[in-house]
Amino acid sequence: MTWIFENLGRVFLAFVATTGRLFLFLLQALNQGLRPPYYGRQILRQIWEIGYLSLPVVGLTALFTGMVLALQSYTGFSRFNAENAIANVVVLSMTRELGPVLAGLMVAGRIGAAMAAEIGTMRVTEQIDALTTLSTNPQKYLIMPRLFAGITMLPFLVVVADIIGIFGGYCVSVYRLGFNASLYLEQTLNFVEIQDVTSGLIKAAVFGFIISLMGCYHGFTSKGGAQGVGKATTHAVVSASILILVANYILTSLLFEQGVS
């Protein structure tokens, strides 16, 4: 019997220790990174990687999700003659939930992994030590640009995802299910409220922060050659994905209580 408690205790202690290390890492990164110098080139490169190069993945995900949403709500709603609510369902689900969460998860896979692999490789090949000896603070040079780009680019990607998802739902409704095009658009625009969009964007910024933080932390603390880097990459993606889902619930309930939702 005792082994259960022993293992539970061990897991709990490991959890507390990791949380503590993560918090210290973040404090150090902010303490160093918020002060100049800022590395414009690095920031632009991350904005390009996260914002621009994620567009195809996020766009495709949003397009098909919007299309499926329209089909499924048609199937469901036609049973009680509420087909007209399709536009509402699509726009609400996309802006408030699916846009941010799906974009977050896709980018976690793409960018979280890339960050952990790149920074982890730099760690095990002593490139991070080399940065320090060349009078360049690794927190400023590596971590801050990624955190900044993550926080700012995810909301941008979500705006794009929202628009493409709604467009996907529109295409299916109009060309497949035979809805009236202008009526569908009118319904969408009348129904959606600014809070629906902003709550999604707030979530996106938080998810972007989570993705960058996990990628940087696991990369920065990786050790033990190629195998260590592989582990760091896996940990970055898994922990970012889980944290995104947890944060999504917490944020939804917070925004809900504030009456924003």
Binding site: P37, Y39, R45, E118, T121, M122, T125, E126, Q127, D129, A130, L131, T132, T133, L134, S135, T136, N137, Y141
Partner: protein, 246 residues
């Protein structure tokens, strides 16, 4: 004469694994000292302690007579301005071109213009025997031997007073190793710097070093002029020179 570096009874332990067990060593200005020892004896750990990339646990560690064991980040940054480092695997930045690597400190720490920095980088590349056409390549596009030269060019780019080399010849073929050895020797003499080299390669140690220190089981067991090492009667030093197995 004040030593450039002075180490007294320096200790470093990882968990229960005691790596440095009381290092005593002095490195004097203008000399080239080589620390030699087998793999896993803690050479890189000692190297990192001297650079402040790792904190030694106890003992005295001084540079120019100033204690650097408990320096803060700012003091470390200021001190490292005068030190050029070549790491074990070259440690070039993959996302930057060769010339940007060489000019890294000029570009990112000193914030000089790209044109001016490139000009200096090309001079340094020439100084280590590399042609202009490698300047715009990426580190993944050049050989290991060339990468080592680029790393040396990066280390000397901002005219440091001290040069550090961690296993400068590891992973290179014998011919290239001797080229790099000669290059290090030449750079050290021309620049008049203090040099510290860490290696497990006896040939390299004899070429580069004015003095040699032998690291074994966490301590310096022999230290003296390079030409005298054959006269040492320490059995481990003898074994190391002759390359006998245990």
């Amino acid at each position: 004469m004040t030593p450039k570096f002075s180490l007294k009874n320096l200790h470093k332990t990882f968990g229960t694994h005691s790596v440095l067990r009381g290092i005593n060593l002095e490195i004097f200005p203008g000399e080239s000292l080589v620390i030699i020892g087998g793999s896993g004896t803690g050479k890189s750990v000692l190297f990192k302690c001297l650079l402040g990339l790792m904190q030694a646990d106890s003992g005295v560690l001084e540079m120019d007579g100033k204690n650097i064991l408990k320096e803060n980040a700012q003091e470390n940054e200021d001190r490292l301005k005068d030190i050029g480092v070549v790491f074990q695997g070259s440690a070039l930045f993959d996302s930057l071109t060769v010339w940007e690597n060489v000019a890294f400190r000029l570009l990112y720490a000193e914030r000089r213009g790209r044109q001016e920095s490139k000009k200096i980088a090309l001079q340094k590349l020439a100084a280590v025997g590399l042609k202009k056409n490698v300047a715009d390549l990426y580190p993944s596009e050049i050989s290991g031997g060339m990468a080592r030269r680029v790393a040396l060019a990066r280390a000397i780019a901002s005219q440091p007073q001290v040069l550090f080399f961690d296993e400068p010849t590891s992973g290179l073929d014998p011919i290239f190793s001797s080229t790099i050895n000669q290059l290090i020797k030449k750079s050290v003499k021309e620049l008049g710097v203090t040099a510290l080299t860490i290696t497990h390669d006896m040939t390299s140690a004899r070429v580069i070093g004015d003095r040699i220190a032998v690291l074994y089981e966490g301590k310096i067991i022999w230290c003296g002029p390079a030409k005298d090492i054959n006269k040492s009667d320490n059995p481990y030093v003898q074994q190391f020179i002759q390359g006998r197995p245990d």
